[in-house]
Symmetry: C2
Subunit: 707 residues, 2 copies
């Protein structure tokens, strides 16, 4: 009786204590996928608690300390209990054991094994970093509600360099950034370390990202000054224990801009000395500095061609400078000359293919997934597979430059997978892009996958709360490109939003369809480059004049009274000729070309019949209308999950979906009203006519051109 | 015994519950001065609890709902108890009573009385907004630990328009902003209302700010398009219940830029119609829209002079357009032509004084506190007092463009007070700037004080945590310019950092000295405009060439072998002639001119003896050295308060103080090494020689010129 009263009073006390200490803030997205919310399934929770009752380790290392802290934070959050760190496994109870064995077989330096041994959960790795990755894998299993009773994970990353590329400027702005200012507070560094740098490193480590290019590829030479290198060093010191190396984008003209030289000619001795001295200076500060990323002779940036030298001259000079320190050079292939009668599609291949094999062995060519520029859908860049003796890395864009900024919900994993799974046929059938870039086709040691970051100073990191999933996807796919989009979405939703099975399914379903919906209402059937000039926001398919011909829309869609689309077959620009026959043949025949790529490769009649039973004009209209309608579907589905989603996040996304629908209609009306003029056809009767004239629609995009 | 065990166990349970629910985040500054931390003084706490046990009100109004919610949040935080809302005062207990009486005597429409009546705390006001202000006053008394037993506050704001001016651009950047991106998410509006807009409104209401100009004075015409007005309307709807009106900065060329007219000539009928139509459109959306702010014909902005018209023509045209809706026009006097032999000091007076009395009665001339541009110390603008028939408003700059950005700790209230308390002598002795702008000298009805905002998307709003106090100061002084800097600092520290009396004194003391310290190590003795070109960061006293002569440093300091300083007496530019004799005489004689203004008005010999016993050269050196040393003093003092300050804020400020010292030495070395060359004198032996050459120091500012 007294015991009962005691129990009762204690429960009451607990209850009140909880009330007072209740969180003041709703979920603002700051914690990303590392939320570690309490597990509601009490059976599962106690199972985990039994399995994971201690952490046994012997190593004393900053990375191990981080791993332990993460485990303790995570398990405390999810299981509501603290897990002690011990020197030796506790007999009679089950726990986590860290085991470092430098010569462990079956895994790479960064890999790990996560195995159940005598009831204990053992994380074996060759390095501390491997242990940290194993810890995040274990936490992920708990976060996503998987059993951990019979673990037998053996995994190593398929790609060696798994990187974020920040297009962040020294003034704090981010080129094509839609989530606030840069995370890097240059004017505070090196004295102040913003606590957020640590959160950034944690998040990256949790998905296996092991490097970050901290500054924009349109690079300021300022970053190579003593003043700024001191700041970069401070960042590198923060990131190091999380297994993250720092890289810099460099301005090729730096010898002139900050080195007091009259030239930046890569064959000039003083220039070569400048870079060697600079490398020496950098590595003295940051011994594990990753290397340089270069955008040369592209869109106004300086490069070796300013001195009648080649990409090889430029890249190899830099490679020589960083070679003594095991640094690398990432040289971008995003180079294209303005030619009104040319085909920008072909530029990168034409410029780089002839140099195959001539680059130093610590140079990798960084190639965007498609031949143009991160369009909602692109065929693969012909450089994948074509470079047989020079390694090529993948550059994906996480920030949604052409995917509706931070207002449209687009889950990008399906876009990445579509590219990775495309067969280049370069080393015979089955030579997918993934196998080209992971080195298995040409046995490259240097392998890399880069995501142009979508992070910024916004509290939730990515502006659109759902865009966190794109950052997450990049890391997961760089580790293992065999993961499916669905698996990635499943993990992310459970870790970030809800574990309620019904709502997980609803949200996953929206995510998995979101990119196709975006394509439908902006650029179906292989249409591309229809967006507003310069800002790349909203539709501008009527754009006929820009500072460069290949920055217009008509250059790409070529709509006229006879039809629509870019003929890239042998009778046209023959861009298709850059592909291996196996791939080329999939696209070459307009009657067999998959519909999503039709206008990428063919100029077809408005009347051409399609497998859907509609002709080209009708199909275009159909796609724009159904795409916009599907945003309403997204809204409806999202509403269904409301009860399981934090209120702040729910409202945030719901509001953005309203904007998304408004802008989907803007795209739809722009396209159908404009192409109607070209096709001289009517919008089929079953579709409601746009509520506005083309002049009215044009007026909207004009607003965004007013400075 | 059993009871004891029970008690003990319950305490244990409470303890564990608290552990688990302990806040994950340290204080990140997000809550500003509305932290409402629990009061530790139990006696005081229970006194408040007894006094404030209910909230009695009858009105049903959004502003009242906000007032109640704020009281409940505040009292719950500080007293740990919830205070119920009731319809009628509860007899037998003491509480808060709201009383609205539209004809209440002794207060203005925005004023309030906060009085103890029969033990109850009664807030009387003529409007709901007055009640809200009264609520914040009451909360402030509790926050700062004052007795509330015998309240008899009767107060009305001295200035009618108390405004923030955001130099925020449509792309989210902020001109001269050092705290992240704009708070306004233009691409999300109007569909999404960022919860932070509400926090912004709360914070402003708490200090009496009643208007916000949401966009940069270098204005994009985009804000006047239908698209953007819809966004501005959404913001206005959020701010309205907090008593905050929205204003827009307008681009004078808007009729051309978005109105399809060929001219923006203010006397053109179509142009006048454009503005009238635009005003009609705006007021249909936002019935309480505040009005327009205009920067015309200044630094490249368009204006009436492009059409050979005058400021009067331009301002009155806009005034006519908004007049039917009680809108106003704020026309900036910050206008200066480039003249290498002129004196920029005189420009605003020369341009505007001749128009005195010609402006429409809903026009106010917005004048920066000093004649140049927000220097660390300036004498007052001669326009204060000179405009006798046209109202003039005060523009202070909160953002620290010339005050060390977000890295230097400068409490600005003393700067504001120094200006406000300066006697213009315009209406006889005692005609302080404060009395000019509050309308008491010339009986103006239109009165305004504006702060150029220092807010941004950084979590703590202002970048430097201590810079929150500057925002706070602006609001408090606009309400009552008689408040002392010390009182304001006292309030802010107690509300934001600590209530421990010793630490309050320590932090206040740093704050109150901080601005003078900054002046000492950057621009002592009336030196001005020595900062880096364009970015205005760091020192560049050697700057001889810039896009305009009046953007150099030598234009202002005029250091040569004979001496240093700008002769603005009758033998020089005679800028002093723009002041009334009473003020002029204070500065005119180089032997009597207060030392802080010496080089503002006189070119003096390096050898001139000063009251300190040092000559001019020695005094300059002395000030730069002691100023820099005092940053070390700030560090030491801050350290003393560590135990009473939240760890995250403490570390943040401590790190910034390190940067501040580094940069103070940079300023010091720049100035003494450069002026040494002019004076051909040595640094007196008692000061340690700079550890670097002038070339080395110059190299640092050059880094910040690298694009």
């Amino acid at each position: 009786m007294i015991l009962n009263r005691l129990k009762c009073l204690c429960i009451l006390a607990l209850f009140f204590a909880q009330m007072i200490a209740a969180p003041v803030f709703a979920d603002d997205g700051y914690k990303l996928w590392l939320k570690y919310d309490p597990i509601k399934d009490t059976k599962l929770k106690s199972e985990y608690a039994v399995q994971l009752s201690f952490i046994a380790l012997t190593a004393d290392h900053p990375t191990i300390a981080i791993a332990v802290r993460e485990l303790q934070t995570g398990l405390n959050g999810m299981l509501g209990k603290s897990v002690a760190e011990v020197k030796k496994a506790v007999s009679g109870s089950k726990g986590i054991i860290f085991r470092i064995n430098a010569s462990e077989a079956g895994i790479s330096e960064e890999g790990f094994k996560l195995q159940t041994e005598n009831g204990n959960t053992v994380i074996t790795a060759r390095t501390e970093k491997g242990v940290l990755y194993g810890v995040f894998e274990l936490l992920r299993k708990v976060q996503t509600g998987q059993s951990i009773k019979n673990l037998s994970v053996v995994t190593s990353p398929k790609i060696n360099l798994r990187l974020l590329n920040h297009w962040d400027n020294n003034n704090g702005t981010i080129e094509r950034g839609y989530a606030g200012m840069s995370l890097w507070k240059w004017y505070e560094l090196p004295e102040r370390i913003d606590p957020r740098y640590i959160e950034y490193a944690r998040a990256n480590a949790s998905i296996g990202i092991n490097g970050t290019m901290v500054n924009n590829v349109n690079a300021s030479a300022r970053f190579l000054t003593e003043e700024y290198l001191g700041k970069v060093k401070a960042m590198a010191d923060v990131f190091r224990p999380y297994g993250i190396k720092v890289y810099l984008s460099v301005n090729f003209a730096s010898p002139r801009l900050i080195g007091k030289l009259k030239t930046a000619d890569p064959l000039d001795e003083d220039v070569r000395k400048f870079w060697k001295d600079k490398a020496k200076e950098i590595y003295a500060l940051i011994p594990d500095f990753g290397g340089f990323l270069v955008k040369a002779n592209s869109e106004g940036e300086p490069g070796p061609m300013d001195y009648k030298r080649t990409h090889v001259d430029g890249a190899n000079m830099l490679a020589e400078a960083v070679k003594p320190y095991n640094g690398i050079v990432m040289w971008r292939s995003f180079v294209y000359a303005a030619d009104p009668n040319g085909d920008r599609f072909k530029a990168a291949y034409n410029e780089f293919k002839p140099f195959d094999g001539q680059f130093a062995d610590n140079v990798i060519i960084q190639v965007k997934n498609g031949p143009i520029d991160f369009m909602p859908r692109e065929p693969i860049s012909p450089l994948f597979g074509a470079m047989k003796k020079t390694p090529v890395s993948m550059e994906f864009q996480l920030t949604q430059e052409y995917l509706g900024w931070a207002t449209h919900w687009v889950f990008e994993a399906p876009l990445f997978k579509e590219c990775l799974e495309t067969d280049t046929y370069a080393g015979g059938e089955g030579s997918t892009v993934a196998k080209v870039i992971d080195g298995s086709v040409y046995k490259n040691k240097l392998t890399s996958m880069v995501g142009v970051a979508n992070t910024g100073s916004d509290r939730n990191w990515t502006g659109h709360p759902m865009a966190q999933a794109n950052w997450y996807s990049l890391g997961r796919l760089a580790w293992d490109h065999n993961l499916s989009s669905e698996q990635i979405a499943d993990e992310w939703v459970k870790m970030s939003l809800t574990r309620n099975p019904q709502s997980v399914e609803i949200v996953k379903n929206i995510m998995l369809r979101s990119r196709e919906i975006y394509v439908d209402y902006t650029s179906p059937l292989g249409l591309h480059h229809l967006m507003g000039e310069g800002h790349h926001f909203g539709p501008e398919p009527w754009l006929v004049k820009a500072p460069r011909p290949d920055w217009t829309a008509i250059y790409y869609h070529k709509a006229d009274s006879t039809g629509i689309g870019f003929n890239r077959t042998a009778t046209g620009s023959d861009a298709l000729g850059q592909y291996e026959p196996g791939l080329r043949n999939k696209y070459a025949d307009p009657d067999k070309c998959p519909m999503p790529y039709l206008m990428w490769f063919h100029h077809v009649s408005w009347d051409k019949a399609l497998p859907t039973g509609r002709n080209v004009w009708e199909e275009i209209v159909h796609k724009y209308y159904t795409g916009a309608d599907e945003v309403l579907w997204m809204q409806k589905e999202w509403k269904k999950a409301e009860k399981d989603i934090d209120g702040e996040i729910y409202d945030n996304v719901a509001a953005r979906l309203k904007t998304q629908y408004k802008e989907a209609l803007w795209w739809r009306d722009s396209a159908v009203l404009y192409f109607k003029q070209q096709s001289k056809k009517e919008i089929p009767a079953q579709y409601p006519k746009p509520q506005r004239t083309i002049e009215e629609v044009k007026k909207i995009v004009d607003v965004y051109h007013v400075r």
